[in-house]
């Protein structure tokens, strides 16, 4: 789990073609957005350096980086910062900045800050980062000598005060001070913490005083000590790299440190995020409320998976208390999605905590737009948390302004990953922050459904979907039985069958069966649809006994491809007509428009809501999204060989 921090795991991996994309960067109206997009991935030090070099090349050629916001930061340090500098420039682009970094030669901290005519003071930067570690203060340990220890602490604080005053007078820039990361080498052992004058005790005291000093003087604190402790002090302090090149900490933490500096700048400029938008199923609780029901979703204490989701709910609630607005964006029927909040005793979040509740079957990009509009905030205020990589990819591609963290497979890491991403970094906390979430909530109107976002089709094409059809077989049987007995939502007839009955259908040559799997660039979705057709009473017709689909793949027009396949097999069997039936249940309203959408004609409507539909196999087959179609094992009822082709 520690690699969450070192490898910036909340960010997606950089594209394979990262280096080529850098080479292709050229001046133009979208350059700034392109840079920000490339920076918004988990870049290592070499990649950050390359990105910074590309930025320098473009700026040298006169390119403007709009809409990146220009900011000038002076960096004063007692260590080597040349390796750090490019990482800062690239990480700043991730947070929407065109960073100009000013740094004097090594070791000029006091001169630059105190001399009003120094290069830094004359350059009038927006902010000055004092990247000073314990070595900058030349702390002289004096174990057991209380007075000497006190004097050492005060001397350190005086130094900070002088630096701050010097910059105030010289150029009136904001100062950022860093807490000190304690070296791991102890003198006594545990006693170092308590005994005045040990290095650890001195550093503890200086850090505490520095935090107060920074906030009381209107300056900003960067808690480098916390960053170092998070990843481990022994790993942070590298004697080799200090001796060799005066690197203040191990190179592997440069991306993390640079990210923290950049997000601090973002907080200073008021660019931190304001809204946390949460997916529901498998994010806020384990399982799918529409399929599993209130009794079976996992959110209870005592269930390790449930506790992982509870930890995320707790974090969301704490964020709300400090003023972060909460919203819900879920592919669900609204009434079903609200049920756990109203009825489940262990769900911590309540509807009253959620400013905008968007549960419907629209794509998530459309719903996120609606949420932003509802709150009268820009998309760049939103963070969207979703366990499903396909949804994350869709939102990143259509709404690059929204922050979408990657999540680990194990929900135990959800809360930590969200916190590590630092989207809600703040440099101050005021009483009105506490009330902000309520304020937005009161002002939120009920979000109206928006028109479909353009570009969904193009996104579907980019998913590289492969759909695979097989008749029922032994390998798929257990999953088929599970889907037949568990799927509630996109299930046309909700007919439940035992394993024995499924086997009977599989073995009966007059029954046509189909299991469907879907893969895409994010991985294998597994079996996502099941179809059973039985010979109808009338001749040369099939009645669709069962047709169900996993909600995970809704909105990808999978059902169109399934129908096309079904028609092919029907034709091959000499069947001329397909008969479909919709039997309403408490949960399958979402499937009510299924047959109409696929070109079936309604021939009967029962008062109870059930309906009967027909479609000739000769009628024009439906339009299908681009996906690779593989059909196997339909021997001998179907074509004699494996067929493979692309439906365009």
């Amino acid at each position: 789990m520690d690699s969450i921090y070192t490898e910036l795991r909340w960010l997606p991996r950089p594209p394979e073609t990262f280096a080529e994309q850098l080479k292709q960067l050229a001046p133009g109206p979208h350059l700034g957005d392109e840079l920000r997009r490339l920076a918004t991935s988990a870049l290592d030090l070499n990649q950050l350096t390359r990105l910074a070099r590309s930025i320098a090349r473009l700026k040298k050629g006169g390119a403007t980086l709009q809409p990146l916001l220009p900011i000038r930061l002076a960096l004063l340090s007692n260590a080597t910062i040349q390796m750090l500098a490019p990482a800062l420039v690239a990480s700043a682009a991730r947070h929407g900045f065109d960073l100009e970094l000013l740094h004097p030669p090594y070791g000029q901290v006091a001169q630059e800050a105190l001399d009003t005519g120094s290069s830094i003071n004359r350059a009038r930067p927006d902010a000055v980062l004092f990247a000073l570690d314990h070595r900058a203060l030349a702390l002289d340990p004096c174990p057991g000598d209380r007075d000497a220890a006190e004097a050492t602490v005060q001397r350190a604080l005086d130094y900070y005060r002088q630096l701050s005053d010097g910059i105030k007078q010289g150029c009136d820039a904001l100062c950022i001070f860093e807490t000190l990361a304690a070296p791991p080498e102890a003198l006594f052992g545990s006693l170092d913490r308590a005994l005045p004058g040990t290095l650890r005790n001195l550093i503890d005291r200086i850090n505490a005083e520095l935090a107060t000093f920074a906030s009381s003087t209107g300056n900003v604190l960067l808690d480098t000590a916390a960053i170092a402790e998070t990843v481990g002090l022994a790993a942070w302090h590298s004697p080799t790299l200090w001796n060799l090149a005066k690197l203040p900490f191990a190179d592997e933490f440069i991306p993390l440190y640079a990210e923290h500096v950049a997000r601090t700048l973002a907080a200073i400029r008021g660019k931190s995020r304001k809204v946390l938008v949460l997916d529901l199923d498998n994010t806020l609780w384990g399982g799918i409320i529409g399929d599993d029901g209130i009794a079976n979703i996992r959110i209870a204490q005592g269930d390790p998976v449930g506790e992982a989701h509870l930890a995320l709910q707790r974090m969301a609630l704490e964020l709300r208390r400090r003023g972060v607005v909460l919203a819900v964006c879920s592919k669900n029927t609204d009434e079903v999605a609200r049920r756990p909040f109203l009825q489940h005793p262990e769900v911590l979040l309540k509807l009253e905590h959620i400013a905008v509740f968007q549960a419907n079957w629209n794509d998530k990009a459309t719903n996120l737009r609606a949420i932003a509009e509802e709150l009268s905030l820009g998309l760049e205020s939103l963070v969207f948390l979703d366990d499903n990589p396909m949804e994350r990819g869709l939102v990143r591609s259509l709404l690059p302004q929204v922050a979408v963290p990657e999540l680990p497979d194990d929900p135990a890491g959800y809360a930590r990953t969200l916190a590590a991403a630092g989207y809600f970094e703040a440099i101050a906390f005021a009483e009105e922050d506490r009330r902000r979430a309520d304020y937005y909530q009161e002002n939120a109107r009920r979000a109206s459904l928006m028109s479909q976002v353009g570009g969904v089709e193009a996104y579907l094409a980019s998913l590289g979907m492969t759909i695979t059809f097989h008749p029922f077989d032994a390998a798929g049987r257990a999953r088929i039985v599970q889907l037949i007995n568990k799927s509630n939502q996109y299930n046309l007839t909700t007919r439940r069958y035992t394993e024995h009955e499924v086997f009977a259908a599989e073995a009966d040559p007059s029954v046509f069966t189909m299991q469907v799997r879907l893969e895409d660039i994010f991985g294998d979705n597994g079996m996502i649809s099941v179809v059973i057709c039985r010979p109808a009473v009338e001749l040369a017709a099939w009645e669709i006994d069962t047709w169900l689909m996993s909600c995970r793949v809704l909105g990808r027009e999978v059902e169109h491809v399934v129908l096309r396949q079904l028609i092919e097999h029907a034709r091959h069997d000499g069947v001329r007509k397909l008969i479909g039936r919709y039997l309403p249940s408490e949960r399958n309203a979402i499937a009510s428009g299924h047959y109409a959408k696929l070109g079936f004609v309604k021939v009967q409507q029962e008062p109870c809501g059930a309906s009967l539909w027909e479609r000739s196999v000769e009628a024009e087959p439906p339009q299908c999204p681009p996906m690779k179609v593989i059909s196997e094992g339909f021997l001998p009822r179907s074509k004699q060989a494996t067929e493979e082709g692309v439906v365009a």
Binding site: A19, N46, T49, R50, L241, A245, E252
Partner: protein, 87 residues
Amino acid sequence: MDEALIYAKLTEIVHDVLDDDGIVLTPELSAKQVRGWDSLAHLRLMLTIEKSFHIAFSTEEMSKRGRIGDLVGRIQARLQSHPVRQE
């Protein structure tokens, strides 16, 4: 790991670190002959080599900036004392 494989992997690393895909590594090539291969780039190069090959250099080895042939020799020696982890 055989020498050709080390050269191939090292070439990729050098291209990445020095941001120049045109560099061709030969045993006789020395850092001085390559544009951009300054002490800082050298340090980044050595740190990247450590991570890619799963080896650790001593301070002494890190600071040596000589011919490519010598560097490959040092990588080989480290790989023998610390066999590369299979991934």
